[in-house]
């Protein structure tokens, strides 16, 4: 009953037919799922790369005319460039905050045994059982009192809260994957703890840390609810698009959607090697 049975040299038995049908199902399944993921994205880009008249026209063509009028319209629309720039600023700040606080915690969890370690780990995992975007509601009030309302930093702090649990768990699994013996060897050769970290551990962990930084960037780049609650003048791209959904024309929506999707495609491609390693251990 296994795939390996197909090398049995008896032709045209029911077994072979079953295997052939299985093989067909296998590739048909893969083909369908690939289309299921890619075709909707293709449609979005067809819209983004067609002239506004084509976007609202009917019936549609299924390939783009490579007319950049929609993109230009989006780019020149009041507030779009500012929103894009805000999105980038918030995401970069989020990345720095999340990794700056998460990586030391991840390192501590992977290298030391100390009272309270398990407590902290459970705490971090527990935050995932809470709908974090809701934090934006009370923080809106807190930020008005402290002057952080409607600022890039204020939103970045909330996004950092969303990204921090992931940063801690991912860097924890990263550092756990680097043998402690390497560090100990560096100590015996006269390195201080800090030197051993920067000269031995960091170079090994850096690609993974970059990957989790990219992950933090994507979390912030994509976040809608908190961004829409906490920003009024300094909107990010997601908040801008959400707030103008019922007034903006279709070409603007689709060009905006494409602008949101494109960096995501690139970022996921950049971290694809780490996606599974990150989740494998972060699970436990």
């Amino acid at each position: 009953m296994t795939a390996e049975a197909s090398d049995v040299p008896v032709a045209a038995t029911p077994q072979v037919a079953v295997n052939r049908a299985g093989r067909f199902l296998f590739w048909a399944g893969i083909g369908l799922l690939v289309l299921w993921v890619l075709v909707p994205i293709w449609f979005l880009f067809v819209n983004a790369l067609s002239a506004p008249a084509e976007v609202t026209g009917f019936p549609k063509r299924f390939w783009p005319s490579f007319d950049l009028a929609s993109v230009q319209f989006f780019w020149n629309f009041q507030g779009v460039t500012a929103a894009l720039w805000n999105s980038v600023k918030v995401a970069v700040l989020t990345m720095i905050l999340a990794i700056g606080m998460g990586a030391p915690a991840g390192y501590a969890l992977s290298r030391f045994d100390f009272p309270g370690k398990e407590f902290f780990r459970v705490l971090v995992i527990m935050t995932r059982a809470f709908p974090l975007p809701l934090l934006a509601l009370p923080l809106a009030v807190m930020f008005i009192r402290t002057g952080l309302d409607d600022t890039v930093l204020g939103l970045a702090l909330v996004h950092a809260m969303l990204a921090l649990p992931f940063a801690v768990l991912i860097t924890f699994s990263l550092f756990s994957g680097i043998p402690v013996e390497l560090e100990e060897a560096a100590w015996t050769l006269g390195c201080t703890r800090l030197q051993a970290f920067t000269k031995v551990v960091l170079p090994l962990a850096l690609p993974g840390i970059m990957a989790s930084a990219v992950f933090a960037f994507v979390i912030s780049w994509n976040e809608v609810f908190a961004a829409a609650v906490l920003t009024i003048e300094n909107r990010t791209l997601t908040a801008f698009l959400l707030q103008s959904l019922n007034v903006s024309p279709l070409p603007l929506k689709f060009a905006g959607g494409a602008a949101l999707v494109l960096p995501a495609l690139i970022f996921i491609f950049a971290v694809r090697k780490y996606l599974f390693a990150m989740w494998g251990i972060a699970n436990r």
């Binding site: 390192y107 009030v141 279709l250 905006g256 949101l260 694809r272 599974f276």
Partner: protein, 280 residues
């Protein structure tokens, strides 16, 4: 010094959690139960008294109940297909993982391109000669189509996160278990249900909890596809906070979402409990 080092390393993250997690959640709880500085249940009665509450509540529950099981099956299928592939695995995994990087708002816009009146669904139906004039799919007269569009968009967007967690989990299961089962004559299906699935429980836990929570937070997809025609809990929270400027009721909604999230997380943990000795 050496003894204090781990605590120093944990300090920034701990302080941050304290200020931006525990404190604000305390505030939400207090805010939902007070009005003008006095303890009251008025926020909750106002919330449940509003005609949109039960619709929003049941829409959210139904969305979750339909989307999550479908996604679980799809994610398991994707992961099993990928496991069997000999070449081109990483390419296929990348394609399957793409929606992981796509925000709910963008996913809503992607499916809007398909379902809007001059969209691709109408164009496809037209090309096959099924209709001769574009149909209005996302109008308030056809709520179920909006619901269906949201279901499809959610399945499309958020299956990737479950797939990634499950693939990672399958990678951790030692091959020997499956081989042993094969030696004893277990069929492929038996091996999947009797070996792979039970060993996958920790990953299934993580995947289901993350996904169910995301489902309760569904917001931008719905707004992009249906505006406020199809109320959901998170959308109502946003409405009360922003349009109606009533933070107390918004906080009450937040408590409902929080309650659902915690309750369902506990249910999943209980259902898929892995005894300490049974872990790989």
């Amino acid at each position: 010094m050496a003894r204090a080092l781990p605590y120093l390393l944990l300090l920034p993250a701990s302080l941050f959690l304290l200020v931006f997690f525990f404190y604000p959640f305390g505030l939400v709880v207090v805010e939902s139960m007070t009005r003008g500085g006095e303890w009251t249940t008025e926020n909750f009665t106002r919330m449940t008294g509003h005609w949109k509450f039960s619709t929003a509540f049941w829409n959210t529950i139904w969305l979750t109940a339909i989307v999550v099981p479908v996604q679980l099956i799809m994610a398991l299928t994707m992961a099993s297909l990928v496991q069997k592939l000999k070449t081109g695995r990483s390419g296929l995994l990348y394609i399957f993982a793409i929606p992981l990087g796509i925000s709910d708002l963008a996913a809503g816009l992607v499916w809007l391109a398909i379902f809007e009146q001059s969209g691709f669904l109408n164009s496809i139906l037209h090309a096959f000669g099924i209709i001769d004039r574009p149909q209005l799919f996302l109008g308030y007269q056809s709520l179920w189509v909006i619901f269906l569009a949201v279901v499809l968009a959610e399945i499309w967007r958020a299956t990737a996160i479950m797939m990634v967690i499950i693939v990672a989990g399958m990678g951790l299961i030692p091959k020997e278990y499956n081989e042993a089962a094969e030696v004893f004559g277990a069929s492929r299906w038996q091996r999947f249900t009797k070996v792979t699935l039970p060993l996958l429980r920790p990953s299934l836990q993580t995947a289901l909890i993350l996904r169910i929570l995301m489902a309760f937070e569904v917001f931008a997809v719905v707004v992009a596809l249906g505006g406020t025609t199809l109320p959901v809990l998170m959308g109502e929270t946003f409405q009360w906070q922003f349009q109606l400027q009533d933070r107390g009721v918004a906080a009450a909604y937040a408590m409902v979402i929080l309650g659902l999230s915690v309750a369902f997380s506990l249910v999943v943990l209980r259902l898929l409990h892995v005894p300490k000795g049974a872990r790989i």
